[in-house]
Subunit: 679 residues, 2 copies
């Protein structure tokens, strides 16, 4: 192993350039590592972050221009005379793009590279446009400018004014933290001040309601964190507490049927539900509200044990883009909006920050959702997006370069730009040793990378991860630099799937109890430069089955390896329809690296069978048991090749499935008599 | 067997009191038997028809009053000053009620009974209100009256003006045929004349579009039949041909993506799709258009082999109340609107009329859909309705006394009132023997009943069915009266499920080939009073399985007996959750009559097992294969009791399922941690 000589230059980002800054939150345990302090150098995430900065964000800017989303700001500023273009919540796409751009500037690995410089210029121009569009009283929403001024705040249920405002605040904070400038932040503050003056208890003469689409809540908590203005925290609390009493509208679909602190299950529009819960967790980090925390715990348990796809995606229903009932998880009609996966990551991260727990559940969920529910939303070329992410498809579902409702593309961009901030946290401020100087450094994500982590005791430690994770379970973490203190405990996530994990420090084995799956291995030392920790996560292919109440997956198996979910796609399996494949439980599955394929992936291959479509059915839809023979006519031996689910639909259109039949009794392909006329 | 001495008094209904009168349609083979000529005397349908007339229709009238649906007509007439009440298509509920009432008056078995007399009075009052609301130019839609006159015809895509108008025409025809009066019919004609003047090719200066919700098409064909005015037929043809070219709007959801004659699959809003196809079949009956007929055949095949529930219900998706993809048939989220089942019956009936076919598919479909998809929509008390008809439910889905969108209740009422007209047809007008006088009498539905069937050769024959069908497969048909001619062929439907059927005429066995399932047994004789035909349909319990592409039904079995689909409901199975029941393939199933239960039904019982909810899963949603033990912890022996699906949800709320697990690998119950907050 070679110790990497490339420490991060953190001189550019001394501020807490993160999205969720719990550094001073009295009821949060984990503090972030500034965004610019972690740099991925791997072959999977790092190229995507680079593509995000150099291809995706410039391309998205072009879409913002072409679709007149930016022109709407000029119109509001009085410098463009024409109609409002697009949908009433289009401002939010601009804000998410700005947040992504600001974040990407911080994480950029070379200040001199041309795209980054261009991006910086574009961002500043966009902020000029945004600032110019703001009304004298702080109001800012271009749909309600010019000819709809009288309609402001008239339909909070549906019109997304505070949703857009929340994204504006998040973007302003990201810009402030990335650049130190207050000019966008002041726009956000003026807007937030207007919100504070407008919404609150009726007894105070205010509007006692909240936005139909949550987002402002988490933004206001963060604005409190960055400004110290407690009115913003109180306003977030008001919006959370007013919910669930029928004042918002939309009922359970908009999380307005039950007060948050009484809620136990995930209901309604999936994106809204997880955005709300992220904001609630932010509130809990500041207030320590035990009842709200208990509600979050109940909802989290409901989501992960009954309402989440094996991909980590959430939202089972097309109607209302919503959660379904417990165990209602249809594969072909999975809605699983990319934004909902992003929201689930946002929520999981905030849950992670609240307490010191030995359980890796939140970090496991973040990693799992990242690879299997967020990354599938973006093409390898960085310019095509999925809004829905079905787990099986006939080939008709293809990524699009943009959408009329374009929430997902800039949302993907901002999370990718901020991804390095999810890798590590630090605790110890309140929960440390009696000397008050004992730090805990938590490693949540594994990827070839270098991170410089500030410590409470003073100084910092630089950790160099060398690994081919997630393709390989061998991770080496070397201490390459220590400034000042070296006494801290390193907590390494042992993923819940990592049975038989092991590790060592400078060759000395870790106790087996430390590397039990689903916990963090704790290693306390006075660390020295040159210390090396190795962890090994065995990565056999795992055959996964679904809870028997998930009717759609009955008799089926899905393949996972390490954190990655796999699927079979027509491009690799040219014989028949992949949805007719049958994988016997005892078939050997072989993993093999394919550097030529989809940007260098590890594929799984196995001997399998493919059935003639529904042998013996002859066009009948229901038959008497016994009329259909149980032998296996029309089966052929084939070599099945599975690829990571995140990489599907990057080649020619064709059927795909995550869940494979285990026997001929299971479901299979749909062979229409004519091309489908509706998806 | 006792020959019934109760011939029908047809003196009250000498006119063709039917809904679809193909008597003179040049390209239809089957002619209806007038509605008043068939009277059910059985224990299942007859009580429902009586309840419909004496309870349901009066109760629905009260709802029409209470919800101001009738007041809207007064408002349009200028006799009420107030706002329009309810939804823009509320007029159609009034029209469907009127059609039901007119039909019920014809089918009423006692002109002296008080409810019938009251119903007649109510109907005439409603017609007064309707007629008074009509505009001078023939326009009639109370939503667009008074303050929305300028908006007439401005949004055909969404606003249902011609849909409402179509139901008005159908109601007027039913009233005309029931009473001989022209006064409502003249209202309909004036409206239709306005439609003819307004819609047509742009080249003629008309509006070249159609209604987003089909209905006017079939109504105009029938108006042509009753008036002889060929402009109405041409107008129906225009509305059908203009469709599928993007002029209607709504795309595939409104059947506007593909011209009807090029259509092959059932797409979009299910009610609209089958209403359209019913109208197309009506058009084919008049024009003989072979291309349209071929399109209907393709769509029929697609529906029955890929897009229909085992209940006969159609419409898999809540979003858009629409058909899904091939084999997309989720049980819990089945939409299966009651109106869609009604539309499917309407379409099937018109397909049946087109040609002489030995195949019983259309009559089988009508019977199956009647018992298993329409009747479940109505409570035994006749005053509660299902809009959606799921095939499994946690107990939260309950019939309601009325709906804001109340299309289903009066639709159920009109089909029940007209049900006797589905029992028999007559052919022979064009397809008979060379003497031109040979009649064919077709028996499509079995129920204890008496029918007086007019013959082309002159006179009539009265047939008395004595049977406990659908509980028993023994059907005796006696000739109790013959007026004039007795030489005709009697065609008896041998249902597709009736393996091993047999029959005799006056004790002389029918050839086995005649009683093969799925065909009509043909018996030609010179019939005499006292002739007796017996048919026997063996009714073993049938274990049904679904096509392997129906993923939701994998590893499951449904029970049928004769035409009836069964389900298990909590009320009869108090231990555990019925969705956890496991019925082994070799368990004996016993059928037993329960006169005390649900109005006298035949239940099925079997030894079964009930599982503890998902033993070994411990709150996990996905597990590695092999982690879950395959033995059967927590199983208990129970006696399973199944009831006809049409009778579910008439007792206390509780889980229900049609599809039962065959093994512990199948899906099962949902045991929420808290009461569901959304259905």
């Amino acid at each position: 192993m070679v110790l990497s000589p490339d420490p991060i230059d953190v001189s550019r980002s001394t501020r807490p350039a993160v999205v969720v800054d719990t550094t001073r939150s009295p009821h949060a345990a984990h503090e972030p590592v500034p965004l610019g302090h972690v740099r991925f150098t791997d072959d999977l995430l790092a190229p995507r972050l680079r593509t995000n900065r150099t291809v995706t964000l410039p391309a998205q800017y072009a879409h913002l221009v072409e679709t007149q989303r930016l022109q709407n700001f000029n119109r509001a500023a009085g410098t463009f005379d024409g109609p409002f273009a697009g949908i009433y919540f289009n401002d939010s796409d601009v804000y998410k793009w700005a947040e992504a751009a600001a974040s990407a500037l911080v994480a950029g690995d070379d200040a001199e590279d041309a795209p980054t410089a261009t991006l910086r210029d574009l961002l500043e121009r966009v902020i000029d446009q945004i600032a110019a569009a703001q009304d004298a009283d702080g109001y800012l929403n271009t749909y309600f400018s010019v000819d709809r001024v009288a309609e402001r705040w008239s339909n909070l249920t549906d019109m997304h004014e505070l949703y857009c405002g929340g994204h504006m605040i998040q973007a302003a904070i990201a810009h402030h933290r990335a650049t130190g400038s207050d000019r966008f932040l002041n726009v956000a503050r003026r807007f937030a001040d207007l919100v504070v003056a407008t919404f609150g208890p009726e007894a105070e003469g205010k509007r006692e309601t909240a936005d139909g689409h949550e987002e402002i809540e988490l933004a206001l908590v963060e604005l409190y964190r960055v400004t110290g203005d407690a009115r913003y925290l109180a306003q977030a609390r008001f919006f959370i507490e007013v919910r669930g009493r029928g004042r918002v509208g939309g009922g359970a679909m908009f999380q307005d049927a039950t007060p948050v602190r009484e809620q136990s299950v995930m209901v309604g529009h999936a994106v809204r539900a997880v955005y709300l819960n992220a904001g609630v967790a932010d509130l809990v980090a500041e207030t320590g509200d035990a009842e709200l925390r208990a509600a979050l715990d109940r909802m989290w348990t409901n989501m992960v044990t009954r309402r989440r796809y094996i991909s980590g995606g959430i939202g089972s229903r097309w109607e209302g883009e919503s959660f379904g009932a417990d165990f209602e998880l249809p594969s072909a009609r999975a809605y699983t909006e990319t934004c909902a996966a992003i929201g689930a990551i946002m929520w999981a991260w905030r849950m992670l920050t609240l307490e010191i727990e030995d359980d890796t559940r939140y970090a496991d969920a973040i990693e799992h959702t990242l690879y299997n529910a967020l990354l599938p939303g973006l093409s390898l070329d960085g310019q095509h997006y999925f809004y829905q992410n079905p787990l099986t498809n006939d080939g008709s579902h293809r990524r699009q370069p943009w959408f009329g409702v374009a929430c997902c593309p800039p949302n993907i961009a901002r999370v990718l730009a901020q991804l390095p901030s999810y890798a590590y946290t630090v605790t110890g401020r309140r929960f440390g040793e009696s000397d008050g100087r004992h730090d805990m450094v938590w490693a949540h994500l594994y990827a070839d990378s270098v991170a410089t982590i500030p410590l409470h005791a003073g100084g910092s430690v630089t950790l160099r991860q060398t690994t081919r994770y997630p393709w390989s379970g061998e991770v080496t973490i070397a201490v390459t630099e220590i400034v000042e203190a070296g006494d801290f405990t390193l907590y390494l996530r042992i993923p819940g799937w990592a049975k038989g994990a092991s590790g060592d420090v400078n060759g000395e084995a870790l106790p087996a109890a430390e590397t039990a799956p689903g916990q963090y291995a704790a290693i306390r030392r006075t660390w020295q430069v040159g210390d090396v920790v190795r962890v090994r996560f065995p990565m056999p292919v795992r055959r996964m089955i679904a809870h028997p109440y998930v009717t759609d997956d009955a008799g089926r198996v899905a393949l996972m390896r390490g954190p990655l979910l796999y699927c079979v796609e027509a491009a690799d399996n040219p014989i028949g329809d992949v949805r007719d494949l049958v994988l016997e439980d005892d078939a050997e599955i072989v993993a093999a690296r394919r550097p030529d394929l989809l940007g260098d992936v590890l594929v799984l291959t196995a001997d399998a069978e493919i059935e003639a479509p529904a042998p013996g059915w002859d066009g009948a839809l229901y038959r008497e048991l016994g009329e259909v023979t149980r032998d296996r006519p029309g089966r052929s031996q084939v070599l099945l090749t599975a690829i990571p689910y995140f990489a599907w639909a990057n080649r020619g259109a064709g059927p795909m499935t995550v869940w494979l039949k285990r026997t001929s009794e299971g479901g299979g392909a749909v062979i229409p008599t004519a091309p489908p006329q509706m998806s």
